[in-house]
Structures are given as structure tokens and as C-alpha cells.
Subunit: 303 residues, 2 copies
């Protein structure tokens, strides 16, 4: 990766951190009766102080490419990140993946307790829709409703939550998976929210139908490349680099493309998706340099 | 209760059941990749076949009083009910209230498993916002955004989820509670969504600021009466009538108004709230008969 891309990503991450910190302030907002301290602390533990903030970056950079910038876009980016953070908290629970470490820190149910972690996830998911629907995110309610709807579709039964279900089903499953099944699972579990992060930027910037179509193709391919890179990382990485337990996929009969196609096969498929993502940006010309770099970045990542 | 009120409530419940059944159909909707069977089954288990549907009734009857009826209002009512059903699934989890029975049937984590129940709750919560933000709920995106925002505020950190946190905190707490603390807890845990159900009807019908203010007062008082009636029922009821375990509040150091004020004291406070709810309806005259009956109903309920 070029250093300038990494710097740009880090700067965006820092802005997201500041914005999330403000959204998770101790004082109750309009329409709220109180912000119970323990629940707020668990939400802050889950949402602050970590992560590359890739999804917010995709929201912000897609919107910027199309001419939309500033506090509104950052709020929308935070809404998407709240959904991502909630999903990590719930996925880490003992009844799910049972992980003690996340980004090198104790997971929410370890730092607090299981009940608090479940509630913190619930409240982060709810906060995402609070942010999405609130006027400061965009003055046009049609854009807010469109954004909210897309976020819900990407996150629910037919998207991320459904993908997590397929992932749990796979662990209980005996025998081999098909590539098609693994790709559906991954398109839902991690792909849907990554794809929507790109779409969100397009929605906020009032993109044309043609622009949205191209960006959807880009987001879909980027999401696929991201997840395959994650599978490869899990198969090859070590716990220190990852900040979470490595090698857990094979130990648990997870459905991964490394399992289906082997490491070399998975690398080839990953590279194919990166190329497809970059091709989808053709219509935007030089303006799409950052998004193209993002596609290369997710494939090369060691995080 | 007059038989006509009970019939009206039951008819509304039947319409809600049909609408929820359609929303939870097997076929993937627009923007969804698939609807994984096990997750859908758990969501259906949690959302269908039970409950008085009091919150949807409040949405529908408030809107009807102000002149709005039909499929749109019913969709909004279903969105509120999805939030309610998600909260029951998560509250019943082993890490929370650890209940095996709900409406006389096994709770979601008993009928399925814990991971599936967590995901089913997550996906029902997400579905609520999907329904709220989608065009068929109202043609005016400003109304959809307003409805979505209110639903999120009533459900999250500063509302229902925060109230559940205070409830769990109370169980760990040694010593007595103040009436003020119990009332805040209850206003958040059950009050916020009941109050919002009424407000939702007002939003959908395009109510004036004065109408919204009066209906907010009504909804707040009704919510308080509801929860006190629940405390009384738990202290006096038996498991067969309730379809869930009775007497569990005292056994667990729950913060209730019966605990703070005794049964007779709680009854008096409940009746005070019912009277306040009915007074708040003054400006609507005879049109408010059903809402007044609803306030008496929640206080007299044996369910």
C-alpha cells in the first residue's frame, strides 16, 4: 500500500472516533429519559478505540468522490460503524463464536458480562437507526429514509444476521461445502454491510442510477475480496498479528474459501474480485483512485 | 371490560398476525440475498401466534381516532410489534431473565438454541426499521423518517434497552429502591415503547403539535399503569394464568412498585395513572372512547 492511502485511512478513522465519542456522550439526548452508565460504558468499549474503520472510510470516500463531504456524511459513516460494532459484540458471545479477545482487548462480555454485552449490541444496533433517521444526517428526509432502509436490509435476515446464521449452520454441518454456498454465506455475513457502505456514500451524494449500479458492483466485489483475505489471514496468521485467536476457522469447521479452494485457489479468487472491483470504477476515471486503492488494500491487509 | 373492547382488540390482533406472517414469508425481499430457514423459523416463533398485540392496537387506534387507517398503519404497527417481540426474545435469554416459558410456549432459545435466539432478536429489531423506513409504510418520507427516529429513541440506550439495563442493575443491587428509581426504570423498560406506540399513530396521521402533546401524556400514563399492573399480577398471579413463571420478581430482587409501595399502594398509584391517561384525552371528546377503554384495560388486565 502507498503510505498516502494508509494515512488517509487513519485520518478518517480518527474523525470517526471523535464523532462516535460524541454520539456516545453521557448526557441523554432528545427523547431519551437517561443513559444508564453501565450500558453506555459497554457500548463505548465496543465502539471506541479500535478498528481500521473500513466501512466508514468507504462511506466517506464514496460520498467525497461524488462531491458530498462534511459532518452529515460522517454521521452516516458512524451509523454503519455502529452496526458493525454491534455485530462484533454479538458474534463474540459465548453462545456464538465465544471469543475472549477482539482487537487485542477483552471482548464486551469479558470486560462486562454477557447480559450487558447483549444489551450493548442491541443498543448499538438501535443507535445506528437513530443516527440514520435523524435530521442532522441529511436535510432531505427521502435520503434519510433511503439510507435507513438500505442499512436495515444489509444488516438483517437477508443480509448480515442471516449470514451469521448460515455461518453457525455450517459449523454444525458435516461434510464439505460448495464454493457457491460459501460465497452466499460471505456475501451476506460480511459482504452486505461492506457493499452497503459504498452504496451509502452514493445515497448521501445523490448519485445517479448508473453511478449507483457501478458502485454496487464495486462494493460487492470489494466485500468478497475482503472476506477471502480474512479467510487466508486466519489460515496463515498468528494470534499476535490478529489481536484475536488465529486458526479458529479450521478448528471449527467454518465454511471458508480456503477450505473449499485451498490457499492458492483462494488467493486467485481474491485477486479476481479485486480486479473486478477496480474495473467497476471505470466510469469515474481518476476520481476513483482512493476507492481503487481501497480494493487493493482489503486484499493485501494484514489486520 | 366491555365485550366490545375485547372483540376490537382481538380483531386488531388477528390483522397484525396476518400482516406479520406476510412480512416473515420465506421468499427473500428486495435487497435481500436469501432468508436462511432456521433464522426465519426462530423469528416466526418469536413474532407469531401469541400476545394481545397491545402496542399495535395503540398504533392503529390512535391513528384511526385521527383519521388514518389501512395497510400503511398496520405496517407501522407491525414494526413496533417486531421491536417488542425482539425484546422478549433477548430478555428471556439465560444471561438475562432465563425464562423457559413465554405465552405458554417454549421461549426462543429453548425451542431453538441460544445463538439462534440472539440472532432472531437482532433480526426482528432490524426488520422493525426496515418496515419503518420502507415506502409502503407511508408515501411521505418525512413521516417515515420521523416514525423511524421515534422508534429508535424509544427502543435504545435512552429507552427500552436502557431500562432493561437498569432492571439488571437492580437485581445486583443490595437494599431498597426509591419510588423515583422504579418509575424511571419502568418508564424506560416498558413505558417508552408503549408511549411511542401512541405517538406512532399520531405521526402517521399527521397530528398537530397539541394533539401529539396530549397523546404523549396519555401514552406515558398508560405505560406506567401497564407496568404497575404487571408488578401486581406477578406478585398475585400464578404460573398457569400468566403462561410464564409467577412470583419471580420478589425471588430476584426486582425493582417493582409493589416492592416499594406494597400491593395496596401500587393499586392506588396504578389507578391514579389510569385517571391521568383518561384526562389527557379530554381534547378528543367522544372519539377517544377506545383509547380510554385501553387505559382501563391495561390496569385491569389478567394476562
Amino acid at each position: 500500500m502507498t503510505p498516502s492511502f494508509e494515512i488517509r485511512l487513519a485520518k478518517c478513522g480518527a474523525r470517526v472516533e471523535v464523532a462516535l465519542d460524541a454520539l456516545l456522550a453521557a448526557r441523554a439526548g432528545p427523547g431519551e429519559l437517561a443513559r444508564p452508565a453501565r450500558l453506555l460504558a459497554a457500548m463505548r468499549h465496543a465502539a471506541l478505540g479500535g478498528g481500521k474503520r473500513l466501512r466508514p472510510f468507504l462511506v466517506v470516500e464514496t460520498a467525497a468522490m461524488l462531491g458530498a463531504r462534511g459532518a452529515r456524511v460522517l454521521r452516516a459513516a458512524c451509523a454503519v460503524e455502529c452496526v458493525h460494532c454491534y455485530s462484533l459484540v454479538h458474534d463474540d458471545l459465548p453462545a456464538m463464536d465465544d471469543d475472549d479477545l477482539r482487537r487485542g482487548r477483552p471482548t464486551a462480555h469479558k470486560a462486562f458480562d454477557e447480559a450487558t454485552a447483549i444489551l450493548a449490541g442491541d443498543a448499538l444496533l438501535t443507535l445506528a437507526f437513530d443516527i440514520a433517521a435523524a435530521p442532522p444526517t441529511h436535510p432531505d428526509p427521502a435520503i434519510r429514509a433511503d439510507f435507513t432502509l438500505g442499512l436495515a436490509r444489509a444488516s438483517g435476515l437477508g443480509g448480515m444476521a442471516g449470514g451469521q446464521m448460515l455461518d453457525l449452520d455450517a459449523e454444525r454441518h458435516e461434510g464439505a461445502f460448495t464454493r457457491k454456498h460459501v460465497e452466499l454465506l460471505q456475501a451476506m455475513k460480511t459482504g452486505a454491510l461492506l457493499r452497503f457502505s459504498v452504496e451509502a456514500g452514493a445515497i448521501l451524494a445523490g448519485a445517479s442510477a448508473a453511478e449507483r449500479k457501478a458502485l454496487n458492483e464495486y462494493g460487492r466485489a470489494l466485500g468478497a475480496a475482503f472476506q477471502i483475505a480474512d479467510d487466508i489471514l486466519d489460515a496463515e496468521g498468528d494470534t499476535v498479528t490478529l489481536g484475536k485467536r488465529a486458526g479458529k476457522d479450521a478448528g471449527r469447521h467454518k465454511a471458508t474459501l480456503v477450505g473449499v479452494s485451498g490457499i492458492e485457489g483462494a488467493r486467485a479468487i481474491r485477486d479476481e474480485f479485486v480486479a473486478r472491483a477496480i474495473r467497476a470504477l471505470d466510469m469515474f476515471g481518476d476520481k476513483a483512485g482512493v476507492l481503487a486503492a481501497a480494493a487493493r488494500f482489503v486484499a493485501a491487509r494484514e489486520f
